[in-house]
Symmetry: C3
Subunit: 297 residues, 3 copies
Amino acid sequence: MKNLLSSESLSKEAIEEILQKADSFLGYRGEDLKGKILANLFYEPSTRTRLSFDTAMKRLGGEVLTVTDVHSTSIMKGETLDDTAKVISQFADVVAIRHPESGSAQRFAENSDVPVINAGDGAGQHPTQGLLDLFTIQKEKGKVDGLKIVMTGDLKYSRCSNSLAYYLSNYDVEFVFVAPEQLKMKPELLKHLDEKGIKYSETDDFKKGIEGAEVLYCTRIQQERFASTAEYEELKDVYILTKALVEKKCPDSIVMAPLPRVHEISKEVDELPNAAYFRQIENGVAVRMAILTKMLS
Amino acid sequence: MKNLLSSESLSKEAIEEILQKADSFLGYRGEDLKGKILANLFYEPSTRTRLSFDTAMKRLGGEVLTVTDVHSTSIMKGETLDDTAKVISQFADVVAIRHPESGSAQRFAENSDVPVINAGDGAGQHPTQGLLDLFTIQKEKGKVDGLKIVMTGDLKYSRCSNSLAYYLSNYDVEFVFVAPEQLKMKPELLKHLDEKGIKYSETDDFKKGIEGAEVLYCTRIQQERFASTAEYEELKDVYILTKALVEKKCPDSIVMAPLPRVHEISKEVDELPNAAYFRQIENGVAVRMAILTKMLS
Amino acid sequence: MKNLLSSESLSKEAIEEILQKADSFLGYRGEDLKGKILANLFYEPSTRTRLSFDTAMKRLGGEVLTVTDVHSTSIMKGETLDDTAKVISQFADVVAIRHPESGSAQRFAENSDVPVINAGDGAGQHPTQGLLDLFTIQKEKGKVDGLKIVMTGDLKYSRCSNSLAYYLSNYDVEFVFVAPEQLKMKPELLKHLDEKGIKYSETDDFKKGIEGAEVLYCTRIQQERFASTAEYEELKDVYILTKALVEKKCPDSIVMAPLPRVHEISKEVDELPNAAYFRQIENGVAVRMAILTKMLS
């Protein structure tokens, strides 16, 4: 595995190997990556993902270079991304890049001398988030095959649901996509599921859609996706997961979210054992430890 | 000691233990905290305090995650402080938090899985600064009991004088509070001193107030505290400690300040052996090393 | 060597010792500086230089404190640079400072308790960049004496060409300075070369100037140096190094640049073996490893 740029690029064997390795890294501290350096190159802020990589590297005895800048253009004063890749890859042994533009991780990797991990590029992919979500499902439910996976909210722009769905298409699962008309799952992903023979259904009825979910993956609906405020306000209130809804509609589900949670999941849901979204964080560190060791070994 | 959130929460025994430990850490480099991770979470800039914690952790062989952001709300894109605490405490073994709002360290701690240190929250508390000030007094004067402590400047809004005064109320000291009417020491602290039976007096006469001081703790007066510029300008000039004043009014004092020094202490005072404000910095690292080891052992 | 503030301050012996040491550090990872702390104090953004120092320190097992801030004044809330030096030098064992004002590294060093490295101060000096450039010349050409060195572009404001020229004045080289009238090499440097008996010529004819170069050092021309946009646009197009020009005018040259490359070197030049500007990066890390070990031993 030279790079990790997209979910599709990983075989089921590679995925399973990472999940198994991640399991052995839960709670682990060691010196496996002593003397190795990760460059955390964040062209847009994402404290959670940045710290997850930072922690993963440090728990393995490695070192981290950090570059954060809200204004993507100012990281290297007018330098092209190609040149930046040639420069940064001489400082580090592996690079994690977060960038607002889809395809930029790929372009960076083409010019880098060291392995590159896509830590989220625009509306494109977020392959390490997808892996940690998959790992969480396996840990929490004890299996992946046979599960009914319900994804809700903004499925069009969420690179997290996107990446997870690609991974899950390697398994025998059934999807329900619950989204307003404007934010339906991308056609290319549905086409991919068709090709893989994965069953799915679509609905904009939130309460019906979540019924019988075994995995409930909630993404938040953002105001900037809508033409009018009124339209947003109306939908926002519909796509809120409450404690009562979990208890009534999907009591056997685990509830997941890519975080931050804003208003798509009521705070009272935290009290339920179903709430897995904070447990995802610890899983994320373990998954990234697995990826980093795989790439640097 | 699960958390360190306020000066009042430490018993005299706990204080003394930290001071003793700090003394043994002056100039120390070791691996006591190897494999441990501190999250330095700064919701407002404070380079001095941040680097002091960073240095303390690294001198003990530990690792540091850094989050700095001028705009407090953008650290975690609309996430509540409760959720941020639940997330961050899965990355780190201990968290130092600086926040512009009083009470936020307490709230963070209630949601954290790991120990939390208040690195200054609004006009509230700054318990590690208070401890390093107390440690400096003990190192420089060889004792705390029996000393005449004079605090000058903005006593109302200075969390540093506030935290130090609470610690000192465990000892047999005498206070003189020298402040303009608008910036007098908070009534609740005076009440606390009354309850503890600590003697204190108040004055707005700077030259008289500092007479005979054995410890002179100078905080700066900030323009934004005043209704009119004229009022500020007049007072600003009165509350300036000069070399001549130290030599004439309190030749046996040590002069301390929480830094940065702007104009409240003349540069010429630096030449005097009384000037202890830069020595406080090294003491601060040792005190934070003591606190970190105490929390992580 | 207490500090490294300017190119002139290093004797030829000291220079040669650093170059030799740097050579042994190419590709090296060790624990030579375990327990030591570098403060990377950047009052203006320079990701490349900052990461180079950061990497150098970490490849030697040392630790790094990072301070970056676009607004130079806000690093320490109104504190003087003198006071900041007194504070920072108690946290770190060595300080690398980048500052927009010429002379600030010197002033910082006068108030610091630990060694200080000038990582670029205004239009002044950039002595570590000069050393890495010199090291690159020696590595690529196998020698320094006897070479024809051509520097092009903005020679007036480029601290990089400035620092390199001072180092090279210790060797038997010949300079050609190719710059528009407004951006000619500083008179004090030319005077220094005269005193050292170093031959040089000046021209504003780019194509003629680069003829027969063995080292071609290209700095970019910045719009803000010109009174009118038209004047800039005209010159900008003249000072562009193309693949054809290298092949025709100076086929035996190595092409160097302080980076970032904006438009002064065509991307097609990257394909030529002459292009040494990305190899400079790795050399820069080795040179900084040599400087750090020299200062901390």
